[in-house]
Subunit: 152 residues, 2 copies
């Protein structure tokens, strides 16, 4: 139930691309500098994003990366899935495929709810929201209570 460095890096780099808008391709090095990410590691991540159709790229002088779609059509969920795989799998299978027996019968519903609650956040927030800081209502609601900000 943790967020990997890769996913965090991927979202941060994508945010930079979203902010760059249509000012032309952005070099990997600039992304790495802006977000303090190891360049060579970032290049692998950007390649994955490209393979998933989230980003495009061109080589050579004047080359670089840009978003394949408008920033308000790319969600955080997509980016996380591209680099981490499916969200909230249990034992490497989707929760709807698992059969629970005996007294754990209803556990499936709990894991489904867990996945749904993650999707409620990650599929709502777009790169445009992230860059502008105007996050969807659900985020505001969830972060409003002070105890959302403390560890347990």
């Amino acid at each position: 139930m943790r967020v990997s460095a890769k996913a965090d890096y991927a979202v941060r780099a994508a945010a930079e691309l979203a902010a760059a808008g249509d000012e032309g391709p952005v070099k990997g090095e600039r992304l790495a500098d802006a977000q303090d990410i190891p360049l060579q590691f970032l290049e692998h991540i950007l390649l994955e994003l490209k393979h998933h159709g989230i980003v495009r790229a061109r080589r050579g002088a004047k080359g670089g990366y840009w978003l394949a779609r408008p920033a308000d059509e790319v969600t955080i969920a997509e980016i996380v899935r591209a680099v981490e795989g499916p969200i909230a799998h249990v034992q490497s299978s989707p929760p709807e495929d698992i059969e629970y027996r005996g007294n754990a019968e209803h556990l499936q519903q709990v894991w489904i709810a867990v996945r749904a609650s993650l999707r409620n956040v990650l599929e709502e927030v777009t790169l445009a929201d992230l860059v502008s800081g105007e996050l969807p209502g659900i985020v505001g609601e969830l972060t409003a209570r002070p105890d959302a900000w403390v560890a347990r």
Copy 2:
């Protein structure tokens, strides 16, 4: 963003203990059989639960495991934390400790919201809820929409 086998096993074993109630200690073997969990692996998991004060145990004939507290006072969140560590850490740190720069500045809020939404489910559901099948309202709401049950 996945649920490990260990966490899944831990919750299932705890559910069996909750269902056993006060009928005395339950042997590890019975838990393993009931939930189809490798016995020796389960013993390690139960030991962790014991160290976290969730379960108690006694050795010898008539020995076994039982819940340290009433089933309606033990949440799924506790069990997951006991075996997997903190929920929704980013790059191994709690999201409130991370400083985001540039265009990723608001990403912190998103990860905080992610954690809060997980807590909303995992801290609400108790072992008593799980065994009885009377899950809290939030679970019902989240699993009501059909697309909560399909993969993406």
